[in-house]
């Protein structure tokens, strides 16, 4: 698994629950190092071990943990570059939802070895969407749920998102978009990055 994803997991645990919990995860997962490096690749097995250790130590159901992780990567300030890159997907939340199908291609454009989930978006009617995700490990659904809720806030859209089951490896979400301009949202200007 790409170091970026492992690093996100580590930051989430460190920032939300404290460095001592992360140290405990490192110990229980039997890592041979203290921290993941964003630009290195790691065996998938390490990610699974860390994830299991974390949910075990924190007594959190895996789906809740993953949902919080999804929200964290979009809202945690040091990860702002990721939020900005997601905002390139569209001018409003509806456009953004459709752009999720391009997420894998966009990710690989930047990092060819980044293993992103495969995502399909189906607009059922004017305001209802079915978003399905399939990844090499289970859990893309709840993680996407947390991220989508945070992105809806980011765009200032009023949207309800919920898990809608798993079918042949595809984890489904239902998104109901009530208002695209419910609130101000967070500012996004294309030229807002400091090089």
């Amino acid at each position: 698994m790409h170091g970026l994803i492992n690093r996100a997991l580590q930051s989430f645990v460190e920032v939300t629950y404290g460095p001592r919990i992360w140290a405990e995860v490192v110990s229980q997962a039997d890592l041979e190092f203290d921290e993941f490096q964003s630009m290195l690749m790691y065996p998938d097995d390490l990610t699974v071990r860390c994830f299991e250790a974390a949910t075990n130590i924190l007594h959190r159901p895996p789906s809740v943990f993953l949902e919080d992780l999804g929200t964290f990567v979009v809202t945690h300030e040091p990860f702002n570059p990721l939020r900005r890159l997601l905002r390139f997907g569209g001018e409003d939340f509806a456009e953004f939802l459709h752009s999720l199908e391009e997420l894998g291609d966009r990710g690989r454009l930047v990092m060819p070895d980044l293993d992103m989930p495969d995502i399909r978006v189906h607009q059922e009617d004017g305001q209802t969407y079915e978003v399905r995700a399939r990844w090499k490990m289970l859990g893309a659904g709840p993680m996407l749920l947390g991220a989508l809720r945070a992105m809806a806030d980011d765009y200032g859209a009023l949207a309800f998102c919920s898990l809608a089951g798993v079918n042949e490896g595809w984890e489904s979400l239902k998104v109901t978009l009530h208002l695209d301009d419910h609130s101000e949202g967070r500012a996004f200007s294309l030229g807002g990055v400091s090089a």
Binding site: S38, L109, G191
Partner: protein, 338 residues
Amino acid sequence: MTELFHPKSMVSETVLDRLLPMHLQIAPDGRVEHVGPTLRKILGKDPAGCQLFDLLSVRRPAGVKTMADLVPLESVRLAITLSHAPSMVLRAAFANVPGGKGAILDISLGLSFAAAVAEYDLNIQDFSPNDQTLELLYLHEANTSTLRLSRSLTEKLQAMHAAAEYQARTDALTGLPNRRSMDRDLDRLLTDMDEEISILHVDLDLFKEVNDTLGHAAGDAVLVEVGRILNNEIRRNDKPARMGGDEFLILLRNMGDLEVAGRIAARLIQKIEQPIFYDGTKCEISASIGIASTTQYAERPTPSDMLADVDAALYAAKHAGRGRFKVHGVEIEEKRAP
């Protein structure tokens, strides 16, 4: 609506604004009749009525100063700058409108896209959905982020590498270079260079007594103090090392004069014989030193030649009683400490 469009044409100003939001419509006399909304935003005003060449200049090809110069340049890639932002080079394409009704110049941000977007606060809706500038911006931003991550990883690895290198050639207790480091230097100096050097092999006297009576902590304190003395009493280019236990080696660079080397050894012994206080208790030790110099060999000696000879000299010095030095191949002298 300008004269540009035939009444039956599918194309209108609105359509052009939507598809080419950075285009200019130009009358045959070079007067600007209309500009697309994004270009208007960049110019900060509606320039309708201005002369085209007051608004911008063509950088490439050279010598394009009038409408007449532009007319033959259809399907040529133009580089232009706007008069109010002369450092930002933009790209443009020119097309004559059939029937001598004027022309259209369509501008794109070219490689100035990042600067232009930031400078003029352009947004997604300022670009045609077909415009790849958004993807370029996305890539530019993503590259900047990943480059930052790569750089931070490289810096981390470099720091770890430097720390590991330092540890590998340093004695942890005294902070002096260790045997490995000294071996490498001796090998390099004796093999690759013809500089004259001298070696002092220092072995502490009475150190075992300090260790046995006052404990290892006192012994360690004594070793640290000796390390400090060795460091202080030699020149900047000379090199001390702790070879292990209570043995030290000093490499004197550009030193073929055994008289001087002997004086340095005598001074070291004198300094080491000053009482060292550990936790209020006086520790008294001394040192024996063996000396050898490259000047003593007919041919360039190998490190093991010199180390064996300096070791033998040290052994003879010890044998003659504590607190002495002995030069390889020279009869033992009386103790030189003043």
